[in-house]
């Protein structure tokens, strides 16, 4: 490893540490129940790990939260990352977003009222606008709260 590379790696580690501490401080300030600050803290842990910090170092940095908790947080952050690209919904999220019962949604697909796309071979998804259209077509008078509308927001 060259001196320059070592310096760059060291800077990345320090930057990742600083970001993690900042995210943790924000998380503690907002209290443990705040979902968004927890998401940010989990992501900062993933970045710190990528920058070369071990689970033990991360745990020590955050006041000894324990390596298993660091591993859990990293796993949470990694699993949250979407396999489905933005603007598309997984089949289960499409059913939720439509506000239809699974049987109604499945019938609509089978009858060609809505078409799935295949963003990755073997992975089915639906366009948000198609799901919204189907929902309005089949349940025009439905209460908005019966649809998981937050899933239809552009990401």
């Amino acid at each position: 490893m060259t001196w320059m590379r070592a310096t760059e790696d060291g800077a990345t580690r320090e930057e990742a540490k600083a970001k993690l501490l900042e995210a943790e401080e924000e998380y503690q300030r907002a209290r443990a129940d705040d979902y968004v600050t927890r998401l940010i803290r989990d992501e900062a842990m993933v970045e710190a790990h990528r920058a070369g910090l071990s689970s033990r170092e991360i745990s020590d940095l955050l006041g000894g939260i324990g390596q298993p908790n660091v591993v859990r947080a990293r796993r949470r952050a990694t699993t949250r990352r979407e396999v489905i690209p933005g603007g598309l919904l997984s089949p289960s999220d499409a059913v939720r977003a439509s506000g239809l019962r699974p049987k109604e949604f499945i019938s609509a697909v089978r009858e060609g009222q809505i078409r799935s796309v295949e963003p990755v071979p073997g992975v089915l998804a639906f366009r948000s606008e198609d799901v919204r259209g189907l929902s309005l077509e089949m349940r025009p008078a439905a209460d908005e709260s019966s649809r998981a509308s937050h899933l239809l927001q552009p990401r």
Partner: protein
């Protein structure tokens, strides 16, 4: 005992019920236990069942 490679078949209603149950479990995990990872994993299984129910091979 049937051979291990024998295909196991469910009818459409059974698939729909299984997918619906799994989605409800995932929703409960998200809402009450804040277990996003497990909820996401359960959704992935539901997605596979839904894909079959849609008619995918």
């Amino acid at each position: 005992m049937s051979p291990a490679e024998r295909r196991i078949c469910f009818n459409l209603d059974e698939l729909i019920n299984m997918a619906g149950d799994l989605m409800r479990i995932a929703d409960d995990l998200r809402t009450h236990a804040v277990e996003d990872v497990d909820a996401r994993l359960i959704d992935m299984v539901a997605d596979q069942l839904l894909a079959r129910a849609f008619g995918a091979d």
